[in-house]
């Protein structure tokens, strides 16, 4: 097995210390070492967005991030997103809009949507569609996901 790296980072607001193999992905670290199964394996190569997390405030595919590179960074996963007030409003919007069917893509979309709304409050339909182009969904046809994000984005615009 490859060399281990000692890393220290913040995860959902809590300081963590861990020793991880150099070649391990952040996705594998979250799921296998930290027991956080909300972030999903969809493809392992950055094409589906099911593994989306926030690193230093930017959304990324955790399957492409080296766990070692998390050293000194702030990570937020779906579990952390829904703890915030904005995340809770987003979750309500997803539920009320019917944006969840099998739900497998939903955590990745929630994280991506929270990032999108944060950076573009009041984002319109075009911006939302482009904003989630890296998240695949097989069940919903995206329509209600776009509606949910739109509702949450406009709520944010009204009451940041």
């Amino acid at each position: 097995m490859s060399a281990n790296c000692d890393i220290a980072f913040t995860l959902n607001g809590v300081k963590r210390e861990l020793s991880v193999p150099a070649g391990m992905s952040a996705l594998a670290m979250l799921r296998e070492r930290l027991g956080l199964t909300g972030t999903k394996y969809g493809c392992g190569e950055g094409e589906c967005g099911a593994c989306t997390i926030l690193v230093d405030g930017m959304s990324v595919n955790s399957c492409l991030v080296f766990a070692a590179d998390c050293d000194g960074r702030e990570l937020v996963t779906i579990e952390g997103v829904v703890q915030s007030e904005a995340g809770e409003r987003l979750r309500s919007a997803f539920v009320a809009s019917g944006a969840v069917q099998c739900g497998f893509c939903t955590p990745g979309l929630m994280v991506q949507a929270s990032h999108l709304i944060e950076r573009h409050p009041g984002a319109d339909e075009t911006a939302i569609r482009r904003g989630i182009e890296g998240n695949l969904c097989r069940c919903t046809g995206y329509r209600k996901i776009i509606d949910a994000i739109s509702a949450a984005a406009h709520e944010k615009l009204r009451s940041p």
Partner: protein
């Protein structure tokens, strides 16, 4: 007064957990002491296995077991055709074939062990097309078996012999006829014939396949499986293991997508079970995404020849269809798509004379399974192309031609399907009206020679599908157990599986409607064969209809019990009482008793009774006879979809701009849920028509990944205008009919018609990817040619 829940927008009950990342899918489940399993797959498309050396793999630290077919001499063939041994013995027939499997302390160790297994192959000629498979002297995919494959060593009492082999490469054939197509052709003023080629696509569930198998010390099997047919598979696994089905429990964790992919047993589940049996530890096996592409069944690819005709007044006379189905190396549900295809050929629009023939042919290609729509997309693609062509030939517009041949309520088709409710014509007129179909169609046609490379087109297609279950298994029923506790909280124990389509929500809605309770009063228990009553499974868009009627039946029994007790107490007649808003009421709405209090009084009185009821609903449909005739469903559903496209003639890029759909759903139950099903189905149809293409060449899948297999993404979805035609089916729960598959079925057909309207070019092969379309527009493609040996 309690407002009705029917037709309301009701959020899915498990959505909050799913949106929080709390829901645990099969990939997220951890069993204490579980081993991780990986499968070694063939690197050859077609070859004899000369030897398998697992010594180095077994010696790797952390490896608990490495098995091959030699370790499980008692294994039996699985799958629809029972021609598929989980671990291959003397040969491999396709690139995904399972040769060995490892159980180890971690996935990484299991993967490392796979790399240490040495397999010696003797390559055999690859049969890459059905034409090659049918040629005289073609290599046989399943020859009469020799050696370990012959099952000689399996011949113990009650043991089925391993697949007996075939003298040729024909896996199955289907034949259907109504009337006399020769007579039909003679009566026709227009006769046309075309060949259509429908391609490979695959389910791409966002959650990859996985299973966890665990034997308890008594030899009872606990299987965590995403099967869509748990009770059927319980029986099949029992046969596989030679044990009593009562000793198998299947729990279905929340599923990351189904779409029909989980209606058959595939080798990975028996292999996990074998490893669990041998290691005496729980075994978890999860696919990689590449494995999901390579080792999951596809949609059935079809080469289809359609000859059809009509009179000059526009009445259809006959349809004659021949198809060749590439069966791949092993038989799964794809081979049986003719069951559905012949329904479309014979009964989508009124056709007196019809003949249908399918050959399903073995090759070394991937095999096809059941996939949302189940052959109907392929058949509708052909039928609706001809509806447009025939209409043009007799000088009628596409809407009038279709209306002339669309059935009315009450009709019984020559195949025996009784269309008790039928909103076909309303679907046609609604979709055409709302999309301004005729005017746009004429307008687009007038612009064919305009300058400018981008052309607009509009096209229409309709579909017919079962909407009240499908009696293809011995039973099409579903059982429900219902209890109401002392606080008027309902537990609904249903045989129906929830696979993300929202069944738990709509069943709760139906029960709450009967009992006058809010949605928050219901807990649904499902997905566990030890707890729930029998249900045949999630297929054929049956769950709302069948499980819904079952739940209503149990709820009505509970209601009767409560009202009978209230009647005894009040002296009023039972039919003068009702349940609403959590109360027992009079028919005029007067609140008589709070339900919860009443139930407690019932419980703690001298009568000491609880409200517990059961109901098994079997729909009043019939099995088809040997000629495939019969009223196989309790209800049927229709939809018409109008697709507007933009075609860039300089690149071949087709953009789907808008879909206007009208669906005969009987009745809208959960408006939010049904919209979600339709929107999702439309986009799945869009993928089938335009973006998805599983490229298989010489038995090799060239694009088993999301980078080059293009699912539709959010920026590409069309504008969607969806109307519901509520024909209030007499048998359906609250009048509803099934809709799960319908919205995916006629998109490709409508897009094909739209591309013709935009460009004047009719393309009879899918998919409409840019290069394919560009070639067709520029005369640089080869249209499908009919090729099937007689």
């Amino acid at each position: 007064m309690n407002e009705t829940l029917i037709g309301k927008r009701i959020p899915k009950m498990d959505a909050p957990d799913k949106a929080s990342g709390k829901t645990r899918y099969i990939q997220d489940l951890e069993m204490p002491g579980a081993l991780h399993a990986k499968i070694l797959r063939s690197t050859q498309v077609h070859a004899r296995i000369l030897s398998i050396d697992t010594r180095a793999a077994k010696a790797l630290a952390g490896v608990h077991a490495v098995i091959t077919a030699a370790d499980v001499p008692w294994q039996r063939p699985i799958g629809v055709g029972k021609d598929h041994l989980p671990l291959k013995t003397d040969r491999v027939r396709s690139l995904r074939d399972e040769i060995a499997a490892v159980a180890a302390d971690s996935e990484a160790i299991a993967e490392a062990a796979l790399k240490l297994i040495r397999v010696e192959y003797e390559p055999l000629p690859v049969v890459a097309t059905t034409l090659a498979a049918l040629a005289p002297g073609a290599p046989l995919i399943h020859p009469e078996p020799r050696g370990a494959d012959s099952g000689e060593h399996l011949k113990t009492a009650g043991t089925p012999v391993a697949f007996a082999g075939k003298p040729d490469n024909i896996a199955m054939t289907f034949d259907y006829a109504q009337g006399d197509v020769v007579q039909g052709e003679a009566e026709s003023d227009v006769v046309i014939e075309d060949v259509f080629r429908l391609h490979y696509v695959t389910h791409c569930c966002m959650g990859v396949s996985g299973v966890i198998a665990e034997f308890d010390p008594g030899g009872n099997l606990l299987l965590y499986s995403n099967t869509q047919v748990p009770f059927l598979h319980k029986r099949e696994f029992a046969d596989l293991l030679g044990i009593d089905p009562g000793r198998i429990r299947i729990i279905q964790p929340p599923i990351g997508g189904g779409f029909g992919s989980k209606l058959d047993i595939y080798p990975f589940e028996p292999i996990a079970i074998f490893l669990a049996k041998i290691t005496k530890r729980p075994v978890k096996l999860v696919f990689t995404r590449e494995e999901e592409f390579v080792a999951s069944p596809t949609r059935q690819p079809v080469l289809l020849k359609l000859r059809s005709g009509c009179r000059k007044d526009g009445t259809l006379t006959f349809r004659a269809v021949e198809t060749v189905h590439d069966n791949g190396a092993y038989t799964s549900w794809g081979a049986t798509t003719p069951f559905v295809m012949m329904q479309t050929i014979s009964s989508l629009y009124r056709v007196p004379h019809c003949k249908y023939h399918t050959k399903a042919v073995y090759t070394n290609n991937p095999y096809a399974g059941s996939f949302r729509g189940y052959g109907n997309l392929q058949a509708t693609f052909a039928v609706e192309a001809h509806m447009d062509k025939l209409a043009a030939a007799v000088g009628m517009d596409g809407l009038a031609f279709r209306l002339k041949n669309a059935q009315d309520p009450g009709e019984i088709t020559p195949q025996g399907m009784h269309f008790k409710t039928c909103g076909f014509k309303q679907c046609l007129t609604t979709a055409a009206g709302r999309s301004d179909f005729l005017r746009k169609q004429a307008d687009n046609r007038a612009r064919w020679n305009d300058a400018g490379p981008v052309k607009r087109g509009i096209g229409m297609a309709s579909m017919l599908h079962v909407g009240g279950g499908a009696k293809i298994y011995p039973s099409d029923g579903c059982g429900t157990i219902l209890k109401i506790d002392d606080f008027a909280h309902v537990t609904l124990i249903t045989g129906a599986s929830e696979i993300g389509q929202g069944s738990e929500t709509v069943l709760s809605q139906l029960v709450c409607e009967e009992l006058g309770l809010p949605m928050s009063a219901v807990t649904v228990v499902n997905n566990d064969t030890d707890i729930t009553p029998w249900d045949v499974g999630v297929h054929a868009s049956r769950t709302t209809f069948i499980a819904g009627n079952s739940a209503i039946g149990a709820a009505r029994k509970a209601k009767k019990k409560i009202l009978d007790a209230a009647s005894a107490k009040t002296g009023r007649k039972t039919d003068e009482l009702g349940l609403a808003g959590g109360f027992i009421t009079s028919n005029s709405g007067e609140k008589l008793f709070e339900l919860a209090k009443f139930l407690r009084s019932l419980h703690f009185s001298d009568k000491a009774d609880l409200v517990m009821t059961t109901f098994y609903y079997e729909p009043p449909s019939r099995h088809q006879d040997k000629q495939f005739k019969g009223d196989v469903s309790a209800a049927y559903a229709w939809a018409t979809q109008v697709c507007e496209v933009e075609v860039d003639t300089q690149t071949g890029i087709v953009r789907l701009l808008k879909v206007t759909g009208a669906h005969d759903v009987g009745r809208v139950l959960n408006r939010l849920g049904i919209e979600g099903q339709i929107e999702g189905g439309i986009v799945m149809g869009q993928g089938y028509a335009i973006t998805e293409n599983l490229m298989v060449e010489n038995g090799v899948m060239r694009n088993p990944n999301f980078r080059d297999y293009k699912l539709v993404t959010a920026p590409e979805i069309p504008e969607m205008d969806i109307s519901f035609i509520e024909t209030m089916d007499g048998e359906g729960p609250q009048g509803a009919k099934g809709v799960g598959e319908a919205p995916a079925i006629c998109i490709a057909a409508a897009v094909a018609n739209a591309i013709h309207n935009a460009t004047g070019v009719r393309i009879t092969a899918l998919p409409f990817t840019p290069e394919n379309v560009y070639r067709a527009l520029n005369g640089a493609s080869e249209p499908p040619v009919w090729s099937a040996a007689a």
